[in-house]
């Protein structure tokens, strides 16, 4: 196997007439790897997905950056070339399957359409393969379900159908944008389990876009944390959750009731991140500075660069990671109780004891 990653995104920027919701984003995805992009609303994570799929709204432009996939830059392909790639080599699933499925066609027809388009299968062969695919995504009784319309199916079943369509041509890369957010927790676990099995069996690279830190911790191989359009931290999940280095990541973990299951409201309040993301608008420096308890004057002057903070770790904070390779032992107030020392952490790449 070569050293070239399956997907390499370099310095991606998405611009609308009045704003830049994604700025200078870089990350890569290896075959068979799940990279999570995590962030709250307004972080730019979904627009990143749409940019990679070349499905941005018309008013958006991509003024800079590359997205190298199999030696080709996705951002430079013609619409025709991109159409050939989409669905066959790169597929995407969305949060709400009902809005992506055609309500007046059976699910079998919709799966078969992809196979007829991209693989030139006959109607009969495509239908047979559609039934197989429904079985692969564990829809019970696929022979019968193949003739169902989307409204006959539950939310979890519809997302399975979307996954069947996405993997019909065995894509090398799957972009999953909040694939389980609309689903109940027991169904969510089933769908994530299914996606992970397919990743393994097809050696697919997966870009998992989510706001849910628990999902990230359980399913991701690598994590990119975004805030207001920029990457603020990139790490393996173990070290990230054991010792978050960016104040925003620290704040998110501290604010999460899941991190401290023994903590009860009668014992005291949760640690808040003050303010909201609207304060990022018009910031010349770090977008998080207005909400950050550690911010200094210099944080507001210029955008902090992403610096290396050990192997597989990048952090854009001059306060917690002041110079390349140096890891300061700084914590936000109340952040992640019971942190181990920074030395122990890098050896213990997958600290599993932290509950989120």
């Amino acid at each position: 196997m070569s050293n070239t990653p399956l997907l390499e995104v370099r310095d991606l920027t998405v611009r609308f007439p009045k704003l830049e919701p994604v700025r200078g984003l870089s990350f890569s995805v290896e075959a068979g790897e799940t990279v999570a992009i995590v962030g709250e609303s307004g972080s730019g994570k979904s627009l990143t997905a749409l940019a990679l799929m070349r499905l941005l709204p018309r008013t958006a432009r991509i003024p800079g950056g590359q997205a190298l996939f199999g030696g080709r830059d996705l951002l430079q392909l013609s619409d025709r070339e991109m159409r050939r790639l989409r669905g066959r080599e790169i597929a995407m699933i969305f949060q709400e399957p009902m809005t992506s499925l055609n309500p007046v066609r059976t699910v079998g027809w919709q799966i078969a359409e992809v196979l007829r388009q991209h693989e030139g299968l006959s109607a009969k062969a495509a239908r047979a393969r559609a039934i197989e695919l429904l079985d692969v995504v564990r829809i019970p009784d696929p022979q019968r379900r193949v003739d169902d319309f989307p409204h006959h199916l539950s939310g979890g079943m519809r997302q399975r159908v979307m996954i069947a369509i996405a993997i019909a041509c065995r894509p090398r890369l799957l972009i999953a944008d909040e694939p389980t957010t609309a689903l109940d927790v027991t169904i969510q676990a089933q769908v994530l389990d299914l996606l992970d099995r397919l990743r393994r069996e097809l050696s697919m690279g997966v870009v998992l876009i989510t706001h849910d830190l628990g999902i990230v911790a359980q399913w991701a191989d690598r994590v990119v944390v975004m805030y207001a359009g920029r990457e603020v931290e990139q790490a393996l999940p173990g070290p990230l959750f054991a010792q978050p280095l960016h104040p925003y990541t620290q704040g998110l973990l501290a604010a999460s009731p899941r991190l401290r299951p023994d903590h009860h409201y009668r014992d005291g309040p949760l640690t808040e991140i003050r303010g909201n993301i609207a304060s990022a608008v018009g910031q010349a420096g770090c977008a998080f500075a207005p909400r950050c308890t550690l911010a200094r004057a210099s944080c507001r002057a210029s955008v902090p660069p992403l610096l290396s903070a050990g192997a597989d770790r990048l952090v854009a904070c001059p306060v917690t990671v002041p110079e390349p390779g140096f890891v300061a032992n700084v914590r936000a107030p109340g952040a992640a109780a019971g942190l181990a020392s920074s030395h122990a952490l890098h050896q213990d790449a997958h600290v599993a004891a932290v509950r989120l």
Partner: protein, 312 residues
């Protein structure tokens, strides 16, 4: 006497094809100063139950007692004094705020309706409350669309508090909010509880939030309470297989890539399974589970479960 006491409550909806049994025989109590968490998946009836308690839905059977007075059959006029004591905070505050009224008018409206105070007194109460929920006074002259989701929820909480209620039903109050904002709102609800001596019925699908915010927890499945326990004893030993499955489905880094998902979907509340409603999805189900519906019974002090084969 409990502040709120509900017995054998039913809320059924007549549909063209059959009956939807959204709430199907629920009994519960909320004591003064207590937060009771009500957890379950979509379609389990938890929101309908919350709305029925406020008589926003009409119960088809059962009793809803406030301080021992049954309000389940009162007419709108007779209900009014109880409305003041029982308020609700919704998931989507935007949908529950009139877009054409200023925040000041929205907050004063319940005072006008309930004939409380003169204009100056109402203004004073509105201002003191807007301070208390952490918004600037200038917010009072603005309209709902000018606020972010978190700020709107602060407004929703202020509106629920303006009549100084005793019990607030919170229906997924933080589910639509980002994590960083969610903590702010939970802290606000907690502070309001202490300040105003409130009790909450806190409805949520998110177990972690309930674990943080509830004193006691009710687990609901297809219209019924299947388990009821003190928060601590529920997490120490969930007795119902469904409760266990819910807990196991919460993503947990300690179980990297090994999920033990519950199979199958929620059945339709229009077409309920025989016997125990959970038996088609239950790993422990036996013949008796398909035949007889289990009733809630106490298996440990203050810990009730409706299951033929509870964990022990």
């Amino acid at each position: 006497m409990s502040l709120l006491s509900v017995s054998d409550l039913q809320t059924h909806f007549k549909l063209p094809k059959g009956v939807l049994r959204a709430v199907d025989g629920v009994s519960l109590a909320v004591e003064r100063g207590e937060t009771v968490g009500l957890v379950g998946e979509s379609g389990c009836g938890k929101s309908t139950l919350g709305r029925t308690l406020l008589r926003l839905e009409q119960p088809t059977a059962g009793r809803i007692e406030i301080d021992g007075e049954d309000i389940s059959t009162l007419d709108q006029k007779a209900l009014r004094p109880y409305r003041r004591r029982l308020q609700m905070v919704f998931q989507d505050p935007f949908a529950s705020l009139n877009p054409r009224h200023t925040i000041g008018d929205i907050l004063a409206a319940p005072l006008v309706v309930h004939g409380q105070g003169d204009a100056a007194e109402r203004q004073r109460r509105v201002e003191s409350l807007i301070d208390r929920v952490g918004l600037p006074r200038s917010a009072l002259a603005r309209y709902p669309h000018e606020f972010s989701g978190g700020q709107r929820q602060r407004i929703g909480i202020a509106r629920a508090l303006i009549l100084q209620p005793e019990l607030i039903v919170c229906d997924e109050p933080v589910s639509a909010l980002d994590l960083s904002i969610q903590a702010q709102i939970l802290n606000l609800l907690s502070a309001m509880k202490a300040d105003f001596g409130l009790s909450y019925l806190f409805i949520s699908h998110d177990l972690s939030v309930v674990q943080y915010f509830a004193d006691r927890v009710l687990v609901m499945y297809l219209g019924r309470i299947v388990e009821s326990a003190d928060r601590r004893s529920l997490w120490a030993l969930p007795r119902h297989p469904y409760t266990r499955a819910l807990m196991d489905a919460v993503p947990d880094p300690a179980r990297r890539r090994q999920s033990v998902p519950l199979t199958g979907d929620l059945p339709s509340p229009q077409n309920l399974p025989s016997g125990c409603r959970f038996h088609p999805r239950c790993p422990k189900a036996t013949a008796v589970c398909a035949e007889r519906e289990p009733v809630l019974r106490e298996v440990a002090l203050g810990h009730e479960v409706a299951c033929h084969h509870p964990e022990s």
